[in-house]
């Protein structure tokens, strides 16, 4: 009882400390000042986080557009197309890849991908590179959660589809994927949450210039990277601003987690 209460208290502590530390900025002008479009110039007391919010959303959106079809295709491959030994090996490799630290993805992106993309679109570090690296990073997770959702489809549906004479594409697209829909989407939402909350991989390849993303190859700075970059020397209101952006990030992720949990529950009920 005591231990469980401690565990629950940690959540309260986390939120309390974020609020407490962010209070100086939130009280003086509130969220309005924080969300106004005046830009992030912490040394002049201007804390507009909107460019970084847009950058964060752009990175997450791009990542999911790339990772969703590839991850789903990987899951379908593993479940319906690959011969048994390949499917088993594929699963093991995915599990291994899901465990690779994000800083390693960042390292590889910085030393291999950035110079490559710089040949094509200098400076190389930017929105697009961040999207590619994050896609690689969350792909294994997307594929694994989609595969387990596909696995949950009752065999009777498959037998019924086969008895109707549907071909393999018809079975997969017309029957299995719709039946596993809520599981797949809830896995995707969790992956988006991971992409939003990821710091290191994005920090290392995104270029870190505070600006509204206008092109696919612009260098951008996301909220998480901003915290990691400036926390070391921030004091006073600047520090409070960083805590407020952490709070905001948490809220964004929580909304996603809530949707994901709701979808998973609807999937079970329906």
């Amino acid at each position: 009882m005591l231990l469980a209460t401690t565990a629950a208290l940690i959540l309260l502590l986390v939120l309390a400390f974020l609020l407490l530390e962010a209070w100086p900025v939130l009280s003086g002008g509130g969220w309005g000042r924080f969300l106004s479009g005046e830009g992030w110039y912490p040394l002049e007391g201007r804390f507009g986080v909107l460019p970084m919010v847009w950058a964060t959303l752009a990175v997450a959106l791009g990542t999911i557009i790339l990772a969703a079809p590839l991850g789903l295709a990987g899951a379908i491959f593993e479940r319906f197309f690959a011969p048994a030994p390949i499917a088993k090996a594929y699963r093991m490799v995915l599990a291994l890849l899901a465990g690779i630290p994000s800083v390693v993805y960042g390292l590889w992106g910085l030393t291999v991908l950035v110079p490559l993309i710089a040949l094509w679109h200098p400076p190389g570090a930017g929105l697009f590179t961040a999207i590619v690296i994050l896609t690689l990073m969350i792909l294994p997770t997307v594929a694994l959660t989609s595969a387990s959702a596909l696995q949950g489809v009752p065999a009777s549906l498959l037998h019924g589809a086969a008895a109707l004479g549907m071909n393999r594409k018809g079975v997969v697209i017309g029957v299995v994927v719709p039946a596993a829909r809520s599981g797949i989407i809830s896995g995707l939402l969790l992956a988006v949450a991971r992409a939003l909350g990821e710091t290191m991989a994005v920090l290392m390849v995104a270029g870190n210039v505070v600006q509204y993303p206008t092109g696919l190859f612009d260098p951008v700075r996301v909220l998480t990277a901003n915290i990691a970059l400036e926390m070391g020397y921030a004091t006073g209101d600047h520090r409070a601003g960083l805590f407020a952006s952490g709070l905001m990030l948490t809220v964004m992720v929580l909304v996603l987690a809530w949707f994901s949990a709701r979808l998973a529950r609807d999937g079970r009920d329906g």
Partner: protein, 276 residues
Amino acid sequence: MADRMFTVLIWAAALLVSAAFVWLLGDLVWRGVDRLSFSFLFSEPLNAGREGGIAPILISTLLILSVALATAIPLGLGAAVWLAEYTRRGGIFGQTVRLSLDVLAGVPSIVFGLFGYAFFCSYLNMGFSILSGGLTLGCMILPIFIRTIEVGLSAVSDDWRRGAQALGMTRAAALRHILIPSAAPALGAGLLLGIGRATAETAALIFTSGYVDRTPESLLDSGRALAVHIYELSMNVTGGDQAAYASALVLIVLIIAMNAGALAFTDRWLSRRITP
């Protein structure tokens, strides 16, 4: 014909993804293996890490991990047992705790870093230290650890509980001798997830356990974790790429080895006490 197209597309996507990962892993091994040697593992870093080894960093990493596990395992096991065995199913308080744990599990690691910095480093006055870093990581892995074990415990059949009661075992004895050993796979899975996340973590450690790359003398010293070392070498040290790749290789091998170790541990020590 459309079916053939679809098959080709699926295979192409799977191959594309595999190729990208072969490229990534190949690069890691190819670039890292040159620097990797016995002396790399057991000597001090020189010249900001460009030369020399990673011995103090490995020590700090293991210390941070030990602190994290030493907080998370007892706290997590206790909380999971309480949630699974001592709450009414569907009771309000248990549900609230479960919900807040699920919420905590989704909070980005950098936010745990902010919290650790404000709470452990500043408020509790521990400064940049291995202790603050380890405690921060402990908080971070706690929710996922608790929920995994709790699910494992709830999956144990009620017949076992009734059997234990019929034999006149106390609740604690039943837990110790029957319920926890039979939930050992879940315990192992929780440990795996926790260790994996804690070892790979960088963002939460940068401003809780700090950057210092000397061998730590006590838990209150600052120490640089391996993941932070990789970040530092690749971002802030020009010419540190090769050492960064070698460290990345060490980190991945470390994670795989610890996963295997945790699996073997739960297999041997926990399931031995019970006959299947």
